[in-house]
């Protein structure tokens, strides 16, 4: 018996586009093609498979009115009780600390500006990725080095009105910096006089006052000599067949602009940066990825759809908003919903002076009013007329 050809399978699957989601079609195509190689699939079998798959999909579709929001919140919140607290763990790279567990999840949902431990994974493009030495050099170059990092001692010379930095030879060598270069950078950045005397860097402020000297002293230490601001520590790791650079601290925009960086795969765990650099769609995906990673690392099984919904809610109006008082919950349309969450009196007072109207479309408002809530069976607004001829039941 001759089975159907791969082309027919592909053609048939194309015809199903629109009735079934893409992920199912892809799997269907893959599996059918693989099976058909080993065993002939008859036309009838093919039709049967499609029929059953279609029915199975229809059975799995959500019911209209389903309270998907509440379910998503519960599905993420409930495992929170089982998560570990305060784990500064080592994710993948033993050398770097990463916040994990419940604190990290709260951080993501809070949409904090900066995570407590930001981290970048930089993938390299082309030859850089395969060459250990070149990857090392690349890593060295992006690591931020300030004057403070290479100073062994600093002092204020009040007689000469100078700020004297004693440079550490070995550390300078490690970072491949020459004293002269340090001086020139300091000169350029702070617009002051700077000279090198042995391993001492002497900085003279423009005006010879004590307050000016103090100000300069403060700023000299922070002068960036090389590397990217914010990247404090760099680790190069072999991953698969390529070298990957992990950084503590993150500066996504500047890193992506560097030559030799694979911009398609390089990521940061700072969602705010992703929003700024790549836009809201990317931020939405970043929230999903980070949350999934955090939950998975704890061995908790949560369906992605729940996390997607939370992420979509946080990003749906084009800005990343926290799921809390200063974001989604604080911007609700309903006065009563806001008042029943946090800062009750302020919301009520403001609503009064603005003459706001609560239309009672949400859940909490209707609970407060003691009415059926518009969810599930409560969302049906049709009423059957009873006792009339023609109507059943």
């Amino acid at each position: 018996m001759v089975g159907v050809s791969p082309e027919t399978i592909k053609g048939e699957i194309d015809g199903l586009r629109g009735t079934l989601p893409e992920s199912v079609l892809k799997e269907l195509e893959g599996s059918l093609l693989r099976v058909s190689k080993e065993k002939a699939i008859t036309r009838k079998q093919l039709d049967d498979v499609f029929g059953i798959v279609k029915q199975a999909y229809i059975n799995a579709v959500v019911e209209p009115g389903e309270a998907v929001g509440t379910i998503a919140a519960q599905s993420v919140g409930e495992p929170g009780t089982q998560m570990t607290l305060r784990t500064f763990h080592y994710a993948g790279v033993a050398e770097l600390n990463v916040t994990l567990g419940l604190p990290r999840l709260i951080e993501i949902i809070d949409a904090r500006r900066t995570p407590s431990t930001s981290l970048m994974t930089i993938y390299l493009a082309g030859k850089l990725a395969k060459d250990k030495n070149r990857a090392r050099v690349f890593a060295q170059e992006i690591e931020a080095t300030t004057v403070e990092d290479i100073a062994s001692q600093t002092e204020m010379d009040l007689i000469n009105m100078e700020f004297v930095v004693t440079l550490d030879r070995s550390r300078m060598q490690q970072k491949e910096l020459a004293p002269a270069r340090v001086a020139s950078v300091v000169r350029e950045v702070l617009k002051v006089e700077a000279s090198v005397d042995g391993n001492k860097l002497r900085v003279k402020p423009g005006t010879q006052t004590l307050s000016e000297l103090r100000r300069v002293a403060m700023r000299v230490k922070g002068v960036s000599l090389r590397g990217i601001k914010g990247i404090n520590r760099v680790v190069v790791k072999m991953e698969g067949d390529e070298y990957v650079v992990y950084t503590e601290g993150s500066n996504f925009a500047e890193t992506l602009a560097l030559p030799g960086v694979d911009q398609t795969r390089t990521v940061t765990n700072n969602i705010n940066e992703i929003e700024e650099v790549l836009g809201i769609e990317a931020a939405r995906n970043a929230i999903i990825n980070e949350a999934v990673k955090t939950l998975e690392e704890q061995g908790l099984d949560v369906d992605v759809r729940h996390i997607m919904l939370i992420s979509d809610m946080m990003t749906h109006d084009g800005k990343v908003k926290q799921a809390g008082r200063h974001g989604v919950s604080g911007e609700k349309a309903s006065v009563l919903a806001r008042a029943s969450f946090e800062v009750t009196t302020k919301h009520l007072l403001d609503a009064c002076i603005r003459g706001e109207v609560d239309k009672l479309d949400g859940i909490i408002e209707n609970v407060i009013a003691g009415q059926p809530i518009p969810l599930g069976t409560g969302s049906v607004e049709l009423v059957m007329r009873r006792g009339e001829k023609g109507g059943r039941g």
């Binding site: 989601p21 199912v24 799997e27 599996s31 498979v49 199975a56 999909y57 059975n59 799995a60 579709v61 959500v62 019911e63 209209p64 009115g65 389903e66 309270a67 998907v68 929001g69 509440t70 379910i71 998503a72 919140a73 519960q74 599905s75 919140g77 409930e78 495992p79 570990t84 305060r86 050398e95 770097l96 999840l105 709260i106 369906d303 919904l309 979509d312 809610m313 749906h316 919950s329 609700k332 919903a337 029943s340 009196t345 609503a351 009064c352 002076i353 603005r354 003459g355 109207v357 239309k359 479309d361 949400g362 859940i363 407060i368 009013a369 003691g370 059926p372 599930g376 069976t377 969302s379």
Partner: protein, 876 residues
């Protein structure tokens, strides 16, 4: 279907003008006294009978209704001098800063104002928050020095907490403030974030104060007959008293200073009447020193009006008691004590079909179990059966009456255990009335409730309307909740004994005589007859455990998977597995492998149960669970299953080897410390030497513990009950066992070895700076051998961290969940498949990108394509 006659369509918020206050007022309150000597409320006092009534039996002087019908009426106090409303000081400040001190216009040019006006009206028309602009307008207008409309030079206005405004050097009295606010035009007010249709700026300065009805502030009579007034009444007394004195002083033409002082005092009392938590204002106190709970405090917070009374309401028809297990009832059922069943009632409408039956209920009355507590006539009149002639009432009973009969078997009730973290925390059960005083539940429903029986209590609610009962039955019944929407797998399933029992039953070589087999099947509640015996020996017939188990599997079930006990051998022998870990089920017959956690344990992979729910439906799954758990328990009882301290016995040679391993580790740690002290340790990139050392030591010690465990494990085989529990996934882990048998291991706080206590050491028994294994909390002993005193102390340190952690975590995760729920609760799937919020805004075009409900998905996947193809095409 119950019709809701009254529906709240919307709630409008607004300010009351002084005239409004006077209009809604039934009386002006003038005396601060409440009752006269005879205990009667004083007219025009704070307890004026026209304000409504609280005592039952009296009639309201205003509306004539009794306690239930009258919710009270407002009165008012005429303030002798205006007073600023604390809640609006910020808005008042904005208004004063932004407007001209002379003409009252906003200090911005005509064009600018017009531009803003247009923007605001556009935003208002679009239904957006037009007040968002107000901040910007105030900011730009506040810095203007000369009014563009009248040319008046502006002075800086300073705001001093809580309610004082200073212009230049002059203090603005509330009267001055009010005058200025009066000058603001309606158009300008709108630009300042005030809706002129609802509120006028000057209304933020009070001239008349509404007095809430007594129902809002009921007084309580103590046992001694002393009346105790509500906090609000106390505050109102203060206000009226000062107000009166102020009025008298003004009348008498008292010196300015005295009037100012009294005015300020009045302001203070009005502030604390509204809110008693203003920074900079000392809170008003009760005579006893207790801080008063005034208006804002009543609304705020967890126990406030909103969260405590409006979002969460107290209900009738509920019961709460301790829970205890009963493996013999179905997962769908709950055992209810008869006492509870006699108290809780279900209303039943009498029809011509059931009227006779209901008469019997009425005759039995409230004290005999399937009886009734009350009947309601067609006109709505209630007759309590406790005090009535029941025979008589039974005769009167006719179609149209409602009987509140006792809770009975097969009634549907909602069962709940706090904390209600997910929807499976409230499920519908069918009632089984039982003797005793506790609620009984099947053990399989423990995981979704997270319940145990160490004194847990649970709540039970009886839905009253037919609609609610039907919804509960169809949507909330336990068997409908087997699959968790969190991950699309079973959350209800076997636990503990259910797993060990099934393992003992189905493991290789388990044979049962006819008598035994029939006993087991009977215990499971089945009446099926036995299949052909698998073994015949010496005239005796024997059945394998697999055969018996298979009797409860649905026909046509095909499954192949690896059991929990699988050791993940490099090369899987498949059906020839040495430990029988390769499970094969064909057409509902368990051919190979053992049943353990992987087959039907709650929250685990749950291969068998998962397949049954998804392919055979919830009825089949409920039946399977009910029968198999009872079977397993019968098996465990038949064989006897226990664990004790000798399960952790290991031979002396093993103990010696473990000691060797641990000593070796200690030596290695010493070596590492030596290397470190000599400064020869190679640091890991980006780590200090000390950190590197700690990491290396931790590694060495962790490894030694693991090796010690491995040695012990070799002597702990599957003939050991503790090991059976651990390996099958019923309870405990191999780690627990090796800690008992071999070595407890490193104790840690915050993921590091113990280091705190004394300077440079954990305890005075060690030298300062000792970094060795023993000095930093490594426990060599096993639990069984017992911990040495120092080890015990270290162990307690680690244990304490665990306790603190749990406490902190519950609080944190609870708040996170509250915020998540609040942010997401309005979302629902529309008929078009989109996810929308309460405004109708689309959040997702297609739910979850494929419209699949995770609870109905196949472990997250929309459709299990592989399985379907396999089934249709056949073969592997």
């Amino acid at each position: 279907m119950t019709y809701i006659n009254k529906l709240v369509d919307r709630v409008e918020f607004g300010l009351l003008s002084p005239d409004d206050v006077r209009k809604i007022s039934v009386t002006r309150i003038v005396t601060a006294d409440t009752y006269d000597e005879d205990g009667y409320p004083i007219e025009r006092g704070l307890m004026d009978p026209r304000l409504g009534i609280v005592d039952p039996g009296l009639r309201c002087r205003t509306c004539g209704a009794r306690t239930r019908g009258c919710s009270g009426h407002f009165g008012h106090v005429e303030l002798a001098r205006p007073v600023i409303h604390v809640g609006y000081v910020d808005v008042i400040y904005d208004c004063l800063r932004a407007t001209c001190r002379k003409c009252g216009r906003i200090c911005l040019s005509e064009q600018k104002l017009e531009g803003y006006c247009k923007q605001v009206s556009e935003m208002a028309a679009a239904g957006r928050g037009w007040w968002a602009l107000a901040d910007e307008i105030v900011k730009s207008a506040a810095t203007v020095e000369k009014c563009p409309s009248c040319g008046e030079k502006q002075q800086k206005i300073k705001f001093e907490k809580p309610t004082t405004f200073v212009e230049g050097k002059n203090r603005l009295t509330p009267s001055d403030v009010r005058e200025r606010l009066e000058r603001i035009t309606n158009e300008d007010a709108q630009l300042l974030g005030i809706n002129p249709k609802i509120a006028r700026p000057e209304w933020m300065v009070l001239t008349a104060l509404p007095v809430p009805p007594v129902t809002v502030r009921p007084s309580i009579t103590l046992e001694s007959g002393v009346r105790s007034e509500d906090d609000l009444t106390h505050k109102l007394v203060d206000i009226i008293r000062i107000n009166q004195r102020l009025a008298e002083n003004i009348e008498a033409g008292a010196p300015h200073l005295i009037i100012e002082d009294l005015w300020e005092l009045l302001q203070y009392h009005v502030i604390t009447y509204f809110t008693n938590e203003v920074s900079g204002v000392p809170p008003a106190r009760h005579r006893s020193g207790r801080v008063l709970r005034t208006l804002a405090q009543r609304l705020k917070g967890k126990e406030g009006r909103f969260r405590g009374n409006l979002s969460g309401k107290r209900v009738d028809f509920s019961a709460r008691t301790v829970i205890s297990p009963d493996p013999c009832i179905s997962i769908n059922e709950v055992g209810v004590p008869e006492y509870v069943a006699r108290t809780l009632t279900v209303p039943v409408r009498a029809t011509s079909h059931n009227v006779e039956e209901l008469r019997d209920f009425v005759r039995r009355g409230p004290d005999v179990h399937p009886g009734a507590n009350c009947i309601i006539s067609s006109e709505g009149k209630r007759f309590d059966l406790r005090y009535a002639d029941r025979e008589e009432l039974a005769k009167v009973l006719e179609p149209g009456f409602t009987v509140e009969r006792h809770l009975m078997d097969d009634d549907i009730v909602l069962f709940n255990r706090q904390p209600s973290l997910h929807r499976m925390s409230i499920m519908a059960h069918e009632v089984r009335v039982m003797p005793g005083r506790t609620f009984r539940l099947n053990l399989c429903v423990c995981p979704p409730y997270n319940a145990d029986f160490d004194g847990d209590e649970m709540n039970l609610h009886v839905p009253q309307s037919e609609e609610a009962q039907v919804e509960a039955r169809i949507l909330m019944k336990v068997q409908e909740q087997i699959l968790s929407p969190r991950f699309g797998g079973p959350i209800i399933g076997g636990i503990q004994e259910h797993i060990t029992g099934a393992f003992l039953l189905t493991r290789k070589g388990a044979l049962f005589t006819r008598e035994q087999a029939q006993q087991l099947i009977a215990a499971a509640g089945s009446v099926k007859s036995l299949p052909k015996p698998a073994v015949r020996e010496a005239g005796e017939e024997y059945w394998t455990g697999k055969q018996i188990f298979s009797m409860f599997l649905p026909e046509g079930l095909n499954l192949t998977y690896k059991a929990k006990i699988c050791e993940n051998c490099a090369r899987c022998k498949g059906e020839e597995c040495d430990i029988d870990a390769y499970v094969v089920i064909r057409d509902g017959q368990l051919l190979h492998g053992v049943i353990d956690a992987r087959a039907y344990k709650a929250l685990d992979w749950c291969e068998v149960l998962d397949r049954i729910v998804k392919d055979y439906g919830t009825d089949a799954a409920r039946e399977f669970l009910d029968r198999v758990t009872r079977l397993s328990i019968a098996v465990a009882t038949m064989f006897g299953f226990t664990t004790s301290i000798d399960d952790e016995d290991i031979p002396d040679e093993a103990k010696e080897r473990i000691a060797e391993v641990l000593d070796g580790a200690s030596d290695e740690v010493k070596k590492l410390i030596d290397v470190y002290n000599r400064g020869e340790l190679e640091p890991l990139p980006g780590r200090s030497l000390r950190e590197t050392l700690e990491m290396r030591i931790m590694e060495v010690l962790a490894e030694s513990r693991d090796r010690a465990g491995e040695i012990a494990e070799k002597y702990l085989g599957l003939d050991n009950n503790a090991v059976i529990m651990a390996r099958t996934g019923a309870r405990g882990s191999m780690l627990n066992l090796t800690q008992m048998a071999a070595c407890v291991g490193q104790q840690s706080v915050r993921g590091e070895r113990l280091s705190r206590g004394y300077k440079g050491r954990t305890l005075p028994h060690f030298e300062s700076g000792d970094l060795g294994a023993e000095a930093r909390g490594f426990v060599h002993s096993s639990y069984k051998r017992g911990l040495k005193p120092l080890e015990f102390f270290f162990h307690a340190m680690g244990g304490r961290e665990g306790l603190v952690d749990t406490a902190v975590r519950t609080a944190q995760s609870g708040y996170m969940q509250r915020r998540l729920i609040n942010a997401l609760q309005d979302l629902r799937v529309g008929y078009d498949g989109t996810v929308r919020d309460d405004r109708g805004m689309i959040i997702q075009f297609v739910y979850g990108e494929d419209q699949v409900d995770p609870a109905r998905s196949d472990n997250g996947k929309a459709v299990n394509v592989e399985k379907i193809i396999k089934r249709v095409v056949g073969a592997e």
